[in-house]
Symmetry: C2
Subunit: 508 residues, 2 copies
């Protein structure tokens, strides 16, 4: 657990300020349930039925080969792969219920599963935006800034693919993004599944920075990836091969169907969740066929669309319900669960905040282990917003504080203070207060609690405006984590060699 | 439960749009717990100990008289009243676990307790604000507009004292606010406790509009009030006498200590909750002494202050923890529980949204029965914000939707649709979709789900800007509920007579 006081020694007479080292979070709450046990069972059975009768289309010949070798029914004309339930159930027996993700800095290692909670930044937007300048196509300098920002806050536990750096050549982009993650940060990195050639480079670069050999690397997860199925019922080539490559190497793969109810999935929450469950089971089974015991997560991303326009919606009541339900399905099969924080808002405004809150409460009260897109997501995931990133960090820190245990000992209740102060008095100067005031409460990042006059005198800045300023202050103060000079030299040489060899083309 | 389709008959081939008649809400979720059962017991015992050893100062001679007559220890020099635990426990036996609040329009009647949830508008701000014009002291025209807005949305279940109309004379202000509530709305009204004279006028006016005699009025609650203790451990004259008057008349009194940890209460959550619990028990006991079985609620309003500036904070992690804990204490004593939606933000911005969300989730996942300040609260309660009101209505409607039950029948899951669409297809035209698309999902009030281009073409309005426009549209479309001409004539005559008699001065 996060220490409540600074780790440095200090005199007992000078209580420290509350620290904000939210590195290891434990969720103390029992998960909220929205479906009955019978309903969960009905959805699980229906999903198994889909895989038995209909199956999924697998575009990767290697993937179909793995399934065929395991005894699945593979149709090489239609590329449809059907799974008997026994194959799925056998796979579920070998999934680890928890897994440690090992970072370069051991203090940044984190655990998925159990009561542990991991927050990951937004992933995948093509654009970056801020309130002053609007949107632009993401570039490598943006990506590096987003690594710095994600590294800077302890409540962000892993790194990610926060924006697509479109000014870098596609054969070398994975080298650039991996280099940024591995040198500007020391948290667990995220590598895209765009072919084995790129992944081999990424894994080699990670091994160089951690100073480990292939056997050490394969013995435990050191990085993660997201595999999205192509709902409904399809798994494309890079995604399938990504499952194979990550599972072979024992790295964490998060299998996430993206099921918008009414568009790529049935219009009901139960229907969309059932389809997603079938697809996730399918991907999890593939990973376990490749390597029983490979670390995988059950990803859910079920929301609804506006049935008037077809626009996707996020952070809706249906989204929160789907999160609660997905958590129940994940627990039914005993696999760690990944969810998201999302919004359809186009500005980092009140809508962005309340939709993200609905997402976060749905995920975290639903018992989620890993929240992707937890900071920076805007505009349905099409842009990485700098103000939204900071607002999200504030919200995540608030949840991290909410998770801290409460005490109710006689000393904590403070009856002596109540007796000391008496009717109509105040507690500001009570001994019970003086002993605790420095670290009693969360100290906010963005929230402004001044009165209206002071706030107006300070320029009447909205939370979004304050967040924009904090982004720039964070970057200005950023110091990259130390990296041994010899390691950096080896890493630089590797990247230079691979560039000269032409990098590795993305597979699609 | 709210009907999912319009009540009017219509052809089966034309599915109706989803209705938003959120009149009777049932919370399906099991309450979140943050304290262990032992910790709850320790806080309850500590609170009983405070009342036994220290007691509360009661500034009303009548209140002290009621306590003395019941055998409490009353010190007429210090005005301190100490209660044996037997007296408190006896009172708790007679508190109704649930109560029906009877409105003029029976469809607006609502229930407190059990799984029922009631949302009430903001109460008490001296000022009104909007983004375009800033703040101004509240006046009667403002108050009337706030009644109209509170009446207009079904998700607001009762009326309130949404802003103080400072342009009306204080002897007649209760006549003006009651007249607005009773003629512009048909929901359950809120009357301030500012002396028996004012309350008698308010009760008489309510009886006139409902066409009931005193016996009928006293037989069931038709209105509500809030009694704030003067924490720590003090109950002033109008508050004490308000408990007496409401309890005598069988009307709902919500007893709410306002305990800011570190200021008017111990700095710890357990300490602040224990003090609040003691004070609420004290007020509840008084009400039950006056009339065993009188409808009362256990109000909680525990938050923290910024220990650097002393500024109150709301919607903080500590606030949500205190809400969960207060719910546990309320269930320990079996009394319906009131909580709040609050923020310290000075603008209806992202901070206002995320702090209010933290408050609402704390209240609603904590099992709250009655949320005061659920719409319009801004700036620590010092202003009623028109944009915040609309943003809050959106959030409340989202919770109302979250409360709707989910189904998982075979028909609902829609395996036929999955088979019909097949791999890589879409569900927009599936029969399963066509049967449901009109009312499948919540249709938002403020949230804008258009893509960035369409949103930009539409003027790139933030949620706060859209909310401001919706406020004015709501007022422009407002129609007061029907009121019998003879009833209105009688009401007008009553008000005219009482004005000519000089009204009734507030008691303080």
């Amino acid at each position: 657990m996060r220490p409540r006081r600074r780790e440095t020694a200090r005199a007992a007479s000078a209580p420290s300020e509350r620290t904000q080292r939210y590195r290891q979070l434990l969720n103390p709450f029992d998960p909220v349930r929205i479906f009955s046990a019978d309903q969960v069972e009905a959805m699980h059975e229906a999903a198994l039925g889909i895989l038995e009768r209909q199956g999924m289309r697998v575009l990767s010949p290697r993937g179909r080969g793995v399934f065929a070798a395991a005894g699945a029914s593979v149709d090489e004309d239609t590329h449809m792969v059907r799974l008997e339930r026994g194959l799925v159930e056998q796979a579920l027996h070998t999934v680890p219920a928890e897994a440690d993700l090992l970072a370069r800095n051991p203090q940044r290692s984190c655990r998925v599963g159990g009561r542990h909670v991991v927050f990951a930044p937004v992933s995948g937007p093509p654009s970056v935006s801020d309130a002053a300048h609007g949107k632009h196509a993401g570039n490598l300098a943006d990506y590096q800034d987003w690594v710095r920002a994600s590294q800077a806050f302890d409540v962000i536990h892993v790194l990610g693919q926060m924006v697509e750096p479109q000014d870098t050549p596609i054969h070398e982009r994975h080298l650039d993004t991996s280099y940024a993650q591995l040198t500007l940060g020391d948290k667990v990195p995220y590598f895209y599944c765009r072919g084995d050639g790129q992944l081999q480079d990424c894994f080699d670069m990670l091994r160089i920075t951690q100073g480990i050999d292939v056997a050490q690397f394969r013995a435990a997860p050191h990085c993660y990836t997201i595999v999205n199925t192509n709902s409904p019922l399809q798994l494309d080539l890079p995604m399938t091969d990504g499952i194979l490559y990550f599972a072979e190497h024992g790295q964490l793969v998060i299998i996430t169907p993206f099921t918008l109810a009414g568009a790529m999935a049935p219009i009901t929450i139960a229907g969309a969740l059932t389809l997603a469950h079938a697809e996730a089971l399918f991907g999890i089974t593939l990973a376990q066929l490749v390597r029983p015991g490979a670390p995988v997560m059950y990803g859910s991303f079920t929301s609804n669309v506006d049935m008037k326009s077809g626009s996707p919606a996020f952070g809706t009541p249906e989204y929160a319900k789907a999160a609660f339900g997905a958590g129940q399905l994940a627990r039914r099969i005993g696999v760690p669960w990944r969810c998201s924080s999302a919004t359809a808002a186009n500005a980092a405004d009140a809508q962005a905040a309340y939709e993200s809150q609905m997402s976060l409460w749905g995920a975290l009260l639903g018992g989620c282990h890993f929240v992707l897109h937890a900071a920076g997501w805007l505009e349905g995931g099409l842009t990485a917003s700098i103000e939204k990133f900071i607002l999200d960090v504030e919200m995540l820190q608030m949840f991290a504080e909410l998770f801290q245990p409460v005490a109710a000992s006689a000393e904590e209740i403070g009856l002596d203070a109540v007796a000391e102060v008496g009717p109509g008095g105040h507690f500001f100067a009570a001994a019970h207060t003086m002993q605790r005031y420095r670290d009693a409460f969360y100290s906010p990042l963005v929230s402004d609690w001044r009165n209206y006059g002071a706030w107006t005198d300070g320029g009447a800045k909205t939370a979004t405006e304050r967040a924009g300023r904090l982004w720039h202050e964070t970057l200005a103060a950023f110091q990259p984590p130390p990296l041994d000079a010899a390691v950096r030299e080896e890493l630089d040489a590797f990247v230079q060699r691979r560039r000269s060899e032409g990098g590795a083309p993305p597979v699609s």
